[in-house]
């Protein structure tokens, strides 16, 4: 059996559990104290807790079986904006932590209902797009952006579980146009089986690459959300092919 075939699933889940217990033990007291803070400060603290937990999971708990590399191609742009990722695996929401910025995620319902994670997601101000109208979700995104908090979204809606990229939904792109937000396209490769659809792990490497962003003027230059989302999808697709060596570098 080669390293690529070996499944360290029990080891990874044990490690994740131990790191989670340790992290909760460290954060319990600060989290209780933070519960007394006003809502905005509480939300900010919750987002920080989620971010650090994500980084612990991505860079510590799964190491050395899974190694994660972040590549920043944002060309110095630091404005809060909408980060658009491709979506292959259940590990994607954790990989958002590689951005290392204040961020919430726009999610499609089920993550908010998870017993442990859902609590923190609600506290952190994550947006459940299945419970809100488009206008409500857009306005919440706008308020977060004004506070300097970016929004991460997976416009495929559901994970593909393979190298294929599904069609994008238009919501975040329509919102970006209306809010005048920066869009940061992001590629995740290598995690289509980390974990797989049965939540089993192999050993592997994951790369997260942030591409040069689209400024608000460029975002608005597209005639509608459909044209914008297809443009972003094509850019992500091309970059993924480049990262996976399918297409040659231009």
């Amino acid at each position: 059996m080669t390293m690529a075939q070996w499944r360290p699933t029990p080891l990874i889940y044990t490690s994740m559990l131990l790191w989670t217990v340790g992290y909760c033990a460290v954060m319990l007291l600060p989290f209780c104290v933070a519960s007394l803070l006003p809502e905005e400060a509480r939300g900010r603290f919750s987002r920080w807790v989620i971010l650090q937990y994500g980084r612990v999971m991505v860079y510590r708990a799964v190491w050395p079986f899974v190694r994660v590399k972040f590549e920043d191609g944002a060309a110095g742009e630091t404005r809060p904006g909408i980060y658009v990722f491709n979506h292959r695996s259940a590990s994607d929401p954790f990989l958002v932590a590689t951005l290392n910025i204040p961020v919430i995620q726009a999610v499609n319902g089920w993550p908010m209902r998870l017993p442990f994670f859902g609590f923190f997601a609600r506290r952190g101000g994550y947006i459940d797009t299945t419970k809100l109208s488009y206008e409500e979700a857009r306005d919440r995104m706008g308020r977060m952006l004004e506070r300097g908090v970016s929004v991460a979204a997976f416009p495929e809606g559901t994970r593909s579980g393979s190298r294929r990229m599904n069609q994008f939904r238009s919501g975040v792109f329509k919102a970006a146009r209306e809010l005048g937000a920066v869009i940061y396209p992001c590629c995740i490769v290598g995690n289509e089986e980390l974990p797989d659809r049965r939540f089993r792990f192999r050993c592997g490497r994951i790369r997260v690459r942030l591409l040069p962003p689209l400024a608000p003027e460029e975002v608005r230059s597209f005639g509608n959300a459909f044209l914008l989302k297809n443009h972003i999808r094509s850019r992500i697709q091309r970059e993924i092919e480049r990262m996976e060596g399918i297409a040659s570098d231009e």
């Binding site: 488009y134 069609q167 238009s170 919501g171 329509k174 005639g223 509608n224 459909f226 044209l227 989302k229």
Partner: protein, 92 residues
């Protein structure tokens, strides 16, 4: 206005608004899976048509049932029968 003329007009609107390849526009194509259009895109389309033709479309419940491009054709064929002014405006 014939059914074929309505379909041709609808196709031209799709090409103009969404820059789709005319060869892709066949009745069996699924709006989301094949063409990548979701409900918000359809609402955008309806708002555009509403402005263009002055006919309220956005609240029409039939829009929610649209799955294929064929459903879009049927929607507008039916609308042209029910609202002759729509067919007249479509010709312009």
């Amino acid at each position: 206005m014939t059914r074929e003329e309505i379909i041709a007009e609808i196709n031209s609107i799709f090409v103009e608004q969404f820059e789709l390849d005319p060869a892709e526009l066949t009745a069996e194509k699924k709006i989301f899976d094949d063409l990548g259009l979701d409900s918000l895109d359809i609402v955008d389309l309806m708002i555009g048509l509403q402005r263009k033709f002055g006919i309220p479309l956005r609240q029409n419940e039939e829009i929610r049932k649209i799955v294929t491009l064929g459903d879009v054709y049927e929607f507008f064929v039916k609308l042209a029968k029910e609202r002759p002014e729509f067919a007249a405006n479509l010709k312009k």
